[in-house]
Amino acid sequence: MAAQRSLSPSLAALLGAAAALGPAQAQAQTAAENDSRVGYRFNEYGEDGFHGEAVGSKERYKVYSQQFQFDTRVAGGALDVNATHEVMSGSSPWYVAPGPDNRPIQVLSGATIKEHRNELRAAYTLNPGTSSSTTFSASYSDERDYRATAVGAERSFPLSGALTLGAGASFSHDIIEPTDAVLYDRVRHEEKNTGSAFGSLAWVLDKASVVQAGVQLNRSNGYLSDPYKLVSVGADILPDKRPDARTEAAALVRYRHAFMHPDAALHLDYRYAQDSWGVVAHTFDAACYQHFAGGWQLIPGVRYYSQQAARFYQPFFLDGEHRFQTSDYRLGTYGAFSASLNVRKRIAHWELSGGIERYHASTSYGIDGSDAAVPGVLSYTRGFIGVDYSFD
């Protein structure tokens, strides 16, 4: 999104009043933004070392990502191009073995060689910045063992002065070709298709508040298991096996409120999701964007996530013969808290940003309390620095 040169309140008032007088005026608002922007982010993600009983390297994942963005105006619309380059290394949970007294022992993969992932995404928006905009997007992600191509479209419709309807759909086709497939007897080549549709309604409540409610339906078909994970079932160690279809339904409510004194904006989001595998997830997000003199912004935030396990999740299975099985902690019952703090500073055409997040997951944090162990739930620290430059 193009950066915004700050409008004086009187100009904003005039532009707002003029906007009601038709399309010739609506362009006046969007043109107040600079035409083009480039941005760069450097992100570092590091998981805490594994605590608890484990076999294998306890150093978990580390990811360095670089993001590049270029936004500009082209032929009547806005073009947004993103490129991401990631370098990933470290060990990850492989399977859980039942130890003495059936205590779970996490077996981790050995530390992997560095993996790279590249992603390119482009989006083109007609009538940007208005409530009747249309966006077309396409993306491509490529790494040694995974390729994904996706396309999407979304459109917004003004229903009245205060209500805007949004709708969209997207489709993704993924190809998985696990590394060392022969060595570890993994699948060689698998595919997965995902389709998604969503609808939303945004409501201007008053001159300082907006709220949005949305629903989304995702459907995936194909190979949905994790080829790198195994499950201990009875006396065997079997591959991770999940159903070949997954339907997820989600509902979301987002609220934004602007305060004048102090100069700040409050963000509150809640999302509920439930899927055909039995996973139920709640996400609460809150953030406060605070402005200080000199173009400084401080943005503290908190997030709470709670998930209930998929029906076929267990750290390990003592008896045999299950249609589906997984020991992947990402399908277990657990909750996670995270706190973040971001800082932004505007200097003429430049904007510098930086932030840090600390995330901690635990089986005791879930809403649907469970005493069941979920070996492998993780904690991480994430940080980034970024720079943006706007120009005409």
């Binding site: 409008l7 004086s8 009187s10 100009l11 008032a13 005039l14 532009l15 707002g16 009043a17 003029a18 009601a20 007088l21 038709g22 399309p23 010739a24 005026q25 362009q27 006046a28 969007t30 043109a31 107040a32 035409d35 105006r73 082209v74 032929a75 009547g76 619309g77 940007p128 910045g129 005409d392």
Partner: protein, 310 residues
Amino acid sequence: MQTHRFAFNAMGCPCEFTLESTDRAAAAHAAAAARAEVERLDRKYSHYRDDSLVAALAAAADRGAVIEVDDETAALLDFSAALHAQSAGRFDITAGALTALWDAQRGRVPSADEIAAALARTGWQRVRWQRPRVAFSVKGMRLDLGGVVKEYAADRAAQACRDAGIRHGVIDLGGDLAAVGAHADGSAWRAGIKAPRNPQGALASIELRHGGLATSGDYERALLVDGCRYSHIIDPRSGIPVESFASVSVLADSCLVAGAASTLGMLMGLDEGQAWLQQLGLPFLCVTAAGKVSGTLDLAGHHAMHAPHE
């Protein structure tokens, strides 16, 4: 690409469309649509026709009746209300009775009684505007949208040309300009700002590629009595002319906003006008009666507005 010009009279001033197109018929078609739009607005908001909306509003004001207005008028009234708020009451579409008193054609300074009587019939605060209904709490009030309709018409005419497929041209309604689009080769249109003491000469030339350029000017309409000059910019709160610039020009993304800003700049007067325009943030030019030029508008064209697209 050829340049096609279409000139006519409307809104009490000479109007000209300059459109670039490879096809004369397409340009003529666009000009006809744009002209129809200007003439529609002229008829609707005219003071000189019995069947205009303004006449209907005047009749309602005299009878003490409530009148319901259409969306376009409602939006213009909302816009006028915003200007009233932004200018702390100096911009007031009910001030027609006052401006008539100080009209150059009367040839004399109005008496205190005449001013008091006109003030009693003036004031946006005396209008009960609850969309879409207008009611007047005092009889004899007059709503004059002339201060916004001309610039609004320029934007509508430019949009009509764009809708008809013309992408290069400029609309000129009596000195208020709205760009259809830059020249086909990307170069800007050039607008001349008149010098106050030499209306035939151009003081400065401003580049316009997109958006609008509006100029509020005083030297042609000021009242001259006994060698004293009384500007036609009246402060509706006191009923007395404001000492102000000879002209204020503002460049904005639409002629409507440019016109509103230049009018407000004039209304704020010599003391506050320039400071207000500075904080507004749009490129502007102020010319005093003595010919002194100041403002942020870069006469070499560096502040020219760029379109959101292209």
